[in-house]
Assembly symmetry: C2
C-alpha cells in the first residue's frame, strides 16, 4: 500500500553544538518521505520555488518518491533557520520565510485520491482539512501539529483532530491543547474528541501510545527512545518518527493494536538514526536491515519478563 504525505519541503540553515549547515534539504514532508521510502511507495503533496535545487528533486526521485503532487511555483522555496543549544532540546527559530508556501493550497492529483495511508505533517490545520476533502476514504490518517496552531488556530485544529485516526504530538502540545497538567489525563481528553489513537512523542525519553474505542481498546503503551550515543542534529526527528510509524503500518497492512505498538517502535528507531547527522543525510545510507537491527535491540533493551496472551487480555482495558 502507499502513503501520501502533505507538508513543507524547504531549505534549512541549522546550527548545533556539533556544526552547521547552510541551505540544506529540509521540511517535514521531505524528512517524512525520505524515511518512509524505506518502507513503501510515497507520494508528496507540497510546493517548492523555482530556486529549489535540481539535485534535491533528483534525490527524492532516486528514492522512488512520487512527485506528481509537488507544485513548482515561480518564487523562492520555504526557508527555516534554527539553532540548537548544548542540551539539543527545542530549536530556537532564527528566521522563517514562507515564500511560495504562503499561498500554498494542496492539490491531490486525482490518481492519488485513493491512497490508503495519509500523513498530514505539521502545517496550517485548514490546509490539512483541505487535503482530507480530496481523499475520500483513506484507511488511516495521521496528523502532526505544533504549539503555534494550538494557540492561533484552535478551532480549525479541533476540527482536523475530529477527522483523523491518529495524532502525533509532543508532551507539551498535549498538555497545552487539553489544558491539563497530567499527561495521560490530557491525552484521554483529546481522544474523546475523535481520534482513535494518540502518540505522545517525548524525545530522548521515548513515546506513549494511547488508544480508545472498541476496535483498539482503551489501552496504553510505553516505549523508551532508542538510545543514541551522539546526537548531531535533532531536526526531523518527529517527522521521521511518523515515517517509521506510517511506513511500518502501510507496508504490513494490519491495523491491530499489536501492529500500532510495533509501528511506534519503528518510529522511535527511525528517529534515532535521523538525529545522527544533519538534514536527511543519515537516511541517505540507512537500510531496512539497520532499522530491523535497532528494533530487535530495543526488544532486548526493554525485556524483563515475557507475557502470555491471557495476561495481555487482562491488561488490555486497564490504563491506570
Amino acid at each position: 500500500m502507499a502513503v501520501l504525505v502533505v507538508g513543507s519541503v524547504g531549505l534549512d540553515n541549522v546550527e548545533t553544538p556539533t556544526g552547521s549547515r547552510i541551505k540544506t534539504l529540509g521540511g517535514a514532508c521531505t524528512y517524512f518521505a525520505t524515511a518512509a521510502s524505506l518502507y513503501d511507495r510515497i507520494s508528496i503533496v507540497g510546493v517548492v520555488g523555482t530556486d529549489f535545487p535540481q539535485e534535491h528533486l533528483e534525490f527524492l526521485q532516486s528514492r522512488n518518491i512520487d512527485l506528481t503532487g509537488l507544485q513548482i511555483v515561480e518564487g523562492k522555496t520555504f526557508f527555516w533557520a534554527g539553532r540548537y543549544g548544548q542540551d539539543l532540546d527545542d530549536a530556537q527559530t532564527l528566521d522563517t520565510q514562507l515564500n511560495v508556501f504562503a499561498d500554498f493550497h494542496p492539490i491531490v492529483p486525482p490518481e492519488l485520491a485513493q491512497t490508503e495511508y495519509v500523513f498530514l505533517a505539521n502545517i496550517d490545520p485548514d490546509l490539512q482539512i483541505e487535503v482530507l476533502q480530496q481523499v475520500p476514504r483513506p484507511r488511516l490518517v495521521a496528523l502532526d501539529s505544533m504549539n503555534y496552531w494550538i494557540t492561533s488556530k484552535r478551532e480549525s485544529l479541533a476540527r482536523a483532530f475530529s477527522m483523523v485516526d491518529v495524532l502525533l504530538l509532543n508532551a507539551t502540545e498535549v498538555k497545552m491543547y487539553a489544558q491539563e497538567p497530567n499527561l495521560i489525563t490530557a491525552a484521554q481528553k483529546i481522544l474523546a474528541e475523535g481520534p482513535k489513537a494518540i502518540i505522545i512523542k517525548r524525545g530522548e525519553f521515548g513515546a506513549m501510545l494511547l488508544t480508545r474505542g472498541e476496535e483498539l481498546g482503551e489501552s496504553l503503551f510505553l516505549t523508551p527512545a532508542y538510545p543514541v550515543s551522539r546526537v548531531v542534529d535533532p531536526t526531523g526527528a518527529g517527522d521521521t518518527f511518523a515515517a517509521g510509524f506510517m511506513g511500518y503500518l502501510a507496508r504490513n497492512g494490519e491495523l491491530s493494536l499489536e501492529a500500532l505498538r510495533r509501528a511506534v517502535v519503528h518510529g522511535t528507531v527511525v528517529a534515532s538514526f535521523t538525529v545522527e547527522d544533519f538534514s536527511v543525510d543519515r537516511l541517505r545510507t540507512l537500510t531496512p536491515e539497520e532499522i530491523q537491527g535497532r528494533y530487535d535491540h530495543l526488544r532486548y533493551l526493554t525485556h524483563f519478563e515475557p507475557l502470555d496472551d491471557i495476561q495481555c487480555q487482562r491488561f488490555r482495558h486497564w490504563i491506570h
Copy 2:
C-alpha cells in the same frame, strides 16, 4: 535474606501543589525501610533525637523493622523542609537542620555484620565507607548519593563508588560526576571505576540499568516509569525505588542480569506508589499484591514483540 540500610531518619516539613505536612515522618532510611519491609526483613542503622515521636518508632517496629542499630541520642532529630513547584520536579530546600545527625557515626550491631544485602542511602560518603568497614563480606552493596557530595566530597565518593556493586543515581548526577554530557557514555565512565552496575533514575521518564564485567555482561536495560495519574508528593521516590530494587533481590536471592532487570522494575513500581501520598503514608497500606499488579501491568505496557533466548544472547553484549 535480610537487608541493612544506613541513612537519615528525620522529620520533614513538605509543601506541594496539593497540600502540606508539618513534622511528618521522613528521611531516606525511613522511606527505604518502610518500602523494603514489604519484601524482606530490614535493619536500620541511623540516629534520632530524644524528641523523635514514639508513634514513629512503633510504626517502624510494626513493620517488623529491626531498630537495634538506631541510636537514640540526647537532642533533636534531623529536620528537612522543602517545597515542590507545579511541575513536581526537584524540591527547593527551605531548611536543613542536621541536629543529632551532625555528629553521627554509624555503628553496625555485631549480630548484623553478616547481613548480605546492604543499602547505603544518601549520606556523607565517609560515613558510607565506615559502614562498609563493619560489614566484612556482603553479597550486594548498593549506594545512593547526590550532587552535594559530588561537589564537596568527590574523593571520598570515588572511594565509596569503588567499594560497592550497584550505584543508584539520577541522570544529572551521572553526567555531573563523569563530566560528560552523554548519559550512556557518562555511565560507562563511572562503571570503569569499580561498580558492576549503575541504575540511572529518570523520575517520570523511568530508569536505565547499565552493567559491565563477565558475570553480568556489558548490557543496557531501559524501563519507562509506571505512569501515575496523580502525584501528591515526590519525596522518597528515589529511596523507595532502591527499596523495591534491593527488596526484590534479597527476597529472591538471585543476582543474575535477569534478576537485576526485574528488580529495577520493582523499583519503579514501588516509587510509583510512594508519590501518591505524603510521607510514607501510601506505603502504610501498600500490599505485595498491589506491587505485583503494577509490575505485571508494566510488562503489558511495554510489550510489543517477545524475544527468545537466542535473541537475548545475541544482544547481551551490545550497548550501542
